[in-house]
Subunit: 147 residues, 2 copies
């Protein structure tokens, strides 16, 4: 009986992540709808704006996603005209993802995201930075365990 609230803690920390993640995606949605992107697609675009021409594997490593998730997603980005998928001539096993002009141009439509997001989270920058670091530390522990 004494550990009942502690057991709840284990459940609740996971549930709080789960539900907060969905809540955040809902805040992003109206912003991303204007670009015709979903949130996972946006994550891929952010990576490519940072560094173009990455392989499926590199993208998956950074987003913690499998090729079974990424391949269909990337094909949808390709169908939308935002990326090209081409085999790496140096290693035909790999597929390089490259931005098109259209994909690069999308970045200009994200300049107002910051203000919207900061208003939605309703927390100070220091507070938010600490929270982000704590969550990333937790994720690192979890990934080390599931490894």
């Amino acid at each position: 009986m004494s550990d009942a609230p502690a057991l709840k803690l284990g459940d609740f920390i996971c549930f709080s992540l789960y539900s907060a993640s969905h809540a955040f995606t809902r805040v992003y949605k109206p912003l991303l709808d204007r670009l015709g992107l979903t949130y996972p697609q946006y994550l891929v675009m952010v990576l490519l704006w940072e560094k173009d021409g990455q392989t499926v594997g590199q993208i998956g490593e950074q987003l913690f996603l499998e090729s079974s998730t990424l391949t269909p997603l990337l094909k949808r980005l390709e169908a939308a005209g935002h990326v090209r998928r081409e085999r790496n001539p140096a290693d035909e096993r790999q597929v390089l993802i490259r931005l098109t002009d259209s994909g690069r141009a999308l970045k200009d439509q994200t300049t107002d995201f910051f203000d919207h997001l900061m208003e939605a989270v309703g927390m100070g920058v220091e507070e938010l930075t600490e929270l982000r670091d704590n969550i990333q530390a937790l994720r690192a522990n979890l990934n080390r365990f599931a490894g």
Copy 2:
């Protein structure tokens, strides 16, 4: 330029939630596989173990999920023999979800979850409690914003 790292913060706080949530689900998976439950199904069972005979709407309100998500999930739990779905005689619009003996019995197989989870998170109870509270506060802000 000066707000570029701040823009990243808005993106990264959402991504850290998103990726940590998935990492947590992966830690739960081997535990839940033994019960034949998925993580969202487990969340519903936790609610019902706490208070049996809730409506679809009440469950959705607590988990922040829509009926379009819950109805198929609950039908799978019913097909697995863990719950019964019956219309509320007092209000035929509502569907009451009730545990079966099988569903109640599943709870006994979750006693070792706590130790596994605490080992996986690799953090102290106080630290974890504070993190949970901060995430829930963030979620409350986000939900208030998304309405």
